[in-house]
């Protein structure tokens, strides 16, 4: 049985994503107990320079011009062959907009079990079992179990490990491996659209008044704007608010939007789903207002109150304005 832990490195346009380092940290802890090696796998084109900080025993580098972009079908095909041949104890993918297109397809294709939304992996050195803990239902429920043997696929979310734990000082050993034929792909990348710069860059703002589903409808955005103006900040939002078209996509805080690090993150009617929480962890102070006392956002916030944001916003705006006089 192969006791190595494979990590599929996620990178886009010359930058290794933080989740890759998080996965390397998880892999190291697990491999120490299984007695296996940490093997990073990078699919790319001219990306030798990207591997230098990967904390892996070895990097398998599959080079092909198609891998200049992320193309789900190319990744699926290339990894299917490699995983089938090696059958590592575990293969880690990011539970991201990239890993999500690949891991579940491979699970069906290779008939290998898949665990998604995994936050931590812990191996029992004595029995060799690997225990996973996943975070589901918007962070309200944890699911714990044993990673099936002999080989399993895992999709990892951030939060369980710090990226620094998966970062190395010494560059790892680099081994080139052959890519399969990839000339008849049904998925092709035509172009990239850079995120609109918009009027503000929420990643650089000191004060963010961030609204979630609790804002209820577009008419209430004005109240949030008034509060933000009083505080000298700007309005941002979570996924549902952006998908409803109530705020511009440039204001999205979360997994597919921006990560922010303001002095004050005022989370109004935001429940704190993992994909939102991962983007606000570097805030100096989070204050949360929510009608649901069990909302996960209260686990992260410094201060909180259980109430309707619509009741609070106008009063708070007034009091802030008074305090500034």
């Amino acid at each position: 049985m192969n006791s190595d832990i494979y990590v599929i490195i996620e990178h886009l346009r010359g930058r290794v994503a933080d989740i890759s380092y998080v996965m390397l940290a998880a892999a190291r802890e697990t491999a120490n107990a299984t007695g296996g090696k940490v093997i990073a796998v990078i699919l790319g084109h001219d990306v030798e320079l990207l591997v230098s900080r990967l904390a892996a025993d070895r990097v398998l580098y599959m080079e092909h011009p198609v891998f200049a972009d992320f193309v789900s079908e190319a990744y699926q095909r290339a990894l299917a062959g490699l995983i089938k041949e090696q059958m590592p104890r575990a293969v880690l993918f990011g539970d991201t907009t990239m890993g999500g297109d690949v891991a579940a397809w491979l699970s069906a294709h290779l008939s290998l079990p898949l665990v998604s939304a995994c936050r931590t992996l812990r191996a029992d050195a004595e029995h060799g079992a690997i225990k996973f803990v996943s975070q589901i239902c918007g962070g309200k429920i944890m699911a714990e179990g044993e990673l099936p043997t002999p080989s399993a696929l895992v999709m990892m979310v951030p939060g369980g490990y710090k990226p620094e734990q998966g970062t190395a000082i010494q560059p790892p050993e680099l081994v080139r491996i052959d890519a399969p034929a990839l000339d008849d792909l049904r998925v092709t990348v035509k172009d990239y659209v850079e995120p609109a710069v918009g009027d503000v860059d929420i990643a650089k703002e000191n004060i963010l008044v961030s609204v979630g589903r609790g804002i209820q409808n577009q008419d209430h955005i004005e109240m949030a704007e008034a509060l933000a103006k009083a505080l000298g900040g700007v309005v941002a939002g979570s996924r549902p608010v952006i998908d409803q078209g109530w705020l511009a996509p440039t204001r999205l805080v979360g997994k597919s939007g921006k990560s922010v690090k303001p002095k004050l993150y005022l989370a109004l009617g935001i429940s704190g789903a993992p994909e939102h929480v991962e983007a606000i962890g570097d805030s100096e102070m989070i204050v949360a207002i929510n009608t649901d006392a069990t909302a996960p956002i209260f686990d992260l916030a410094k201060f909180g109150a259980q109430m309707d944001l619509l009741d609070l916003m106008p009063v708070l705006t007034e009091k802030v304005l008074q305090a500034k006089e």
Binding site: A103, P113, I141, L147, V187, A196, L231, A301, K319
Partner: protein, 256 residues
């Protein structure tokens, strides 16, 4: 063009989630289900495409509590066919996405589907999303986190989201399975009166799911509520009291 939209009911996260005595699943008696939000976007995207071109929108879902309402609502928005997959979805290990993908593939093979749009994920997914394994079973390409679809000449022109707001414009040869993050426009609202009227005319077809094959998902799972070492200091009182205290805190921390 036939567009198939697989949808499913998921726990309503606004409600308190109760784990049953076995500790392995959410208590079905205490659970309120709602349509997966991403599936609602998939329905909207399908209907937008139908309105631009022609063809049928076929909505298909596992037969669980509340699904009839979700199906009739989709019909009121413009879906043409409604199909329930009948089977033992409430069995303790019945409803994982690997099982669902197999059943969906069996059903979709009976249609001439050119495009399959499904929600990119669901809040209770523990074995990945349903779209990628479905694509594998059907031998079709898959792209997820899609927030815009145009169809022309046997291809779909799509917009896929990456972290940080970057978007890739991609071309996918049809037939294909796409995981929808967001429709081009927010899901439309239909008044309840229109849904009621649709109930009188629309028909829900049934397709037997047969044996549910759950292999591919983690086998035994213990559920628990997360415990955290730190928790917010809660401010009690009415809006006035809370606002006054927040202003004090903002001053102390140099925000004001």
């Amino acid at each position: 063009m036939n567009i198939v939209v697989p949808i499913k009911m998921v726990p309503d996260l606004v409600e308190e989630l109760v784990i049953d005595a076995s500790g392995t699943r959410l208590d079905p008696d205490a659970l309120r289900l709602k349509l997966n939000e991403f599936d609602d976007h998939a329905i909207e995207q399908a209907i937008l495409l139908k309105e631009k071109g022609k063809g049928e929108v076929i909505i298909v879902a596992p037969d669980v509590a509340g699904i009839d309402d979700a199906l009739f609502t989709a019909a009121a928005k413009g879906a043409d066919r409604l199909v329930k997959l009948t089977g033992n979805w409430n069995a303790p290990r019945g409803a994982n996405n690997h099982a669902l993908a197999r059943v969906l593939a069996n059903f979709i093979k009976t249609l001439r589907a050119e495009l399959i749009l499904t929600g990119v994920q669901a809040p209770n997914d523990l074995d990945g999303a349903v779209g990628p394994p479905l694509a594998e079973h059907l031998g079709m390409p898959y792209v997820g986190y899609v927030s815009g679809v145009m169809v022309c000449d046997g291809t779909a022109q799509i917009r896929k989201e990456y972290p940080g707001g970057m978007i890739a414009e991609m071309q996918v040869t049809l037939p294909a399975v796409l995981g929808i993050q967001a429709a081009e426009k927010p899901p439309r609202y239909v008044p309840i009166s229109k849904v009621r009227a649709t109930m009188k005319t629309a028909k829900i077809e049934e397709f037997p799911a047969a044996e549910l094959e759950t292999i591919g998902a983690p086998m035994t799972v213990r559920l628990f509520q997360p415990e955290t070492s730190t928790r917010a200091t809660m401010i009690e009182g009415d809006a006035d009291t809370v606002a006054a205290r927040l202003v004090e805190i903002f001053k102390e921390r140099g925000v004001l």
